[in-house]
């Protein structure tokens, strides 16, 4: 995953880490998929690109994002020490998608180190893949604090914002129901997906299927509260970005958000409880905005700092050659 001309939002975290590692003086060669098309064959294409790149570049370390298929392809394409970041779906697929467990175990055995984007994900990975125990560290992809800056609060009734795909996992229908129970303000969904028709036509709710990636900070600035009450959120990148903009959040308590959302800057909710979700919206709207505690929490996840931590893992992996 990497931002491309037709998918500028794809793997933005990879591109920002890439920039940060280059700024720290490292040479990087990329083997990436920068579009969404291509079906399952695109992973074979990635393996071939990685193999070509590794032959040409002769890396000290190969760093892949997502265990399978990307980490698998990287592990086959080069004999250099492998570091892989697990992001969530790759771990969820273990045991859920036939054949993935064995390939994930191979990838993790092959890896010198595994990075999980939250401690929640580390625990899930280590429970499913015993080979990950003792070699998995927690480092999230971080947030670009220059790009996501604190902005003044919008005027008027509370504006709620949900960034992400309109899917079951993102719990968007319950969020819409909770908003209706709250009975004030407006709710904007930025994203598209199979549940779009379940959200359309509801009073006070707007759906913006597509927003240029560079406009996301401005969208967050127009909101008073950013909501991500997903059924499970391995990290919650949109929440980190919202906190960086000084916005209070309503976040799922399942997954990574409890690790970085402080009570002064957000409300953690049971994603299945619509009443609790409605109360969470009201409580978050009453929090300070802009919210100093939110920005302070995000500053703990500065992408430059995270790149430094990843750099240390890559340096250690290099010595295992």
């Amino acid at each position: 995953m990497y931002p491309g001309p037709d998918a500028p939002d794809l793997g933005v975290f990879v591109a920002q880490l890439e920039r940060a590692l280059r700024e720290r003086g490292h040479e990087l060669e990329l083997a990436v998929l920068d579009g969404r098309g291509g079906g399952k064959r695109r992973y074979a294409t990635l393996a071939a690109r990685a193999f070509r790149a590794a032959r040409r570049f002769r890396p000290d370390v190969v760093y892949a994002h997502f265990l399978v298929p990307t980490g698998l392809a990287a592990g086959l394409a080069s004999s250099a020490p492998l570091v892989v970041t697990a992001h969530g779906r790759d771990v969820r697929n273990v045991g859920a998608v036939p054949g993935i467990r064995a390939l994930t175990r191979f990838t993790v055995r092959r890896a010198a180190a595994v990075i999980a984007v939250s401690d929640y994900l580390r625990r899930e990975l280590e429970a499913k893949v015993p080979e990950a125990r003792g070699k998995t560290l927690v480092i999230d992809s971080g947030v670009d604090l220059q790009r996501f800056r604190v902005e003044p609060a919008p005027d008027g009734e509370p504006a709620f914002l949900c960034l992400g795909a309109l899917t079951e996992r993102k719990n968007v229908v319950r969020l819409a129901e909770a908003f209706e129970r709250l009975g004030r303000g407006r709710l904007t969904f930025v994203g598209d997906g199979p549940l779009r028709s379940h959200l359309e036509g509801r009073a006070g709710i707007e759906i913006v299927p597509s927003v240029p990636h560079e406009e996301i900070p401005a969208r967050i600035a127009q909101a008073r509260v950013v909501c991500q009450p997903s059924l499970i959120e391995p990290l919650g990148q949109a929440l980190l970005e919202a906190l960086a903009c000084g916005r209070p959040v309503v976040a799922t308590r399942i997954g990574g958000p409890p690790e970085f959302v402080p009570p002064e800057a957000g409300v953690l909710v049971d994603p299945l409880d619509v009443d609790a979700l409605a109360e969470g919206l009201a409580a978050a709207a009453a929090l300070a905005c802009p919210n100093p505690a939110a920005r302070a929490a995000a500053e703990q996840h500065d992408v430059a700092e995270q790149a430094g931590r990843i750099e240390a893992v890559l340096e250690r992996a290099k010595t295992t050659r």
Binding site: A47, L72, G99
Partner: protein, 129 residues
Amino acid sequence: MTATAAATKIRVLIADDHRLFADALEAILTIDERIEVIGKAYDGEQAIRLAAAEKPDVILMDIAMPGVDGLEATRKIRRKRRATSVLMLTGSNSRTDVDRAREAGAAGYVTKDRIASQLIDSIVGLAED
């Protein structure tokens, strides 16, 4: 064994029950112009059938597959067609795996974590023998 004259590619069959793995192998091997992947089998039975039908020069055989595993498939293939060499793909270079592969008739083995550095050379080496 087919000679590796410039115009003659080494015809390779991949046998691995993990499709993503087999697809990635195919993609990597296809980069080398000396090699042609003539098919993929996802279990031992299919490997035996494809080996008889396609007569590959080299088979990359996963040692562990459900049903007929790579060892049994290798025995059956080698019994019928000595001109096909089998390169066993193993999870480790444990003595047990290596010995079992040799006993089954494999000409060599490559551990899966050494594919990038060893697989193509091993295939070409077998084809040149």
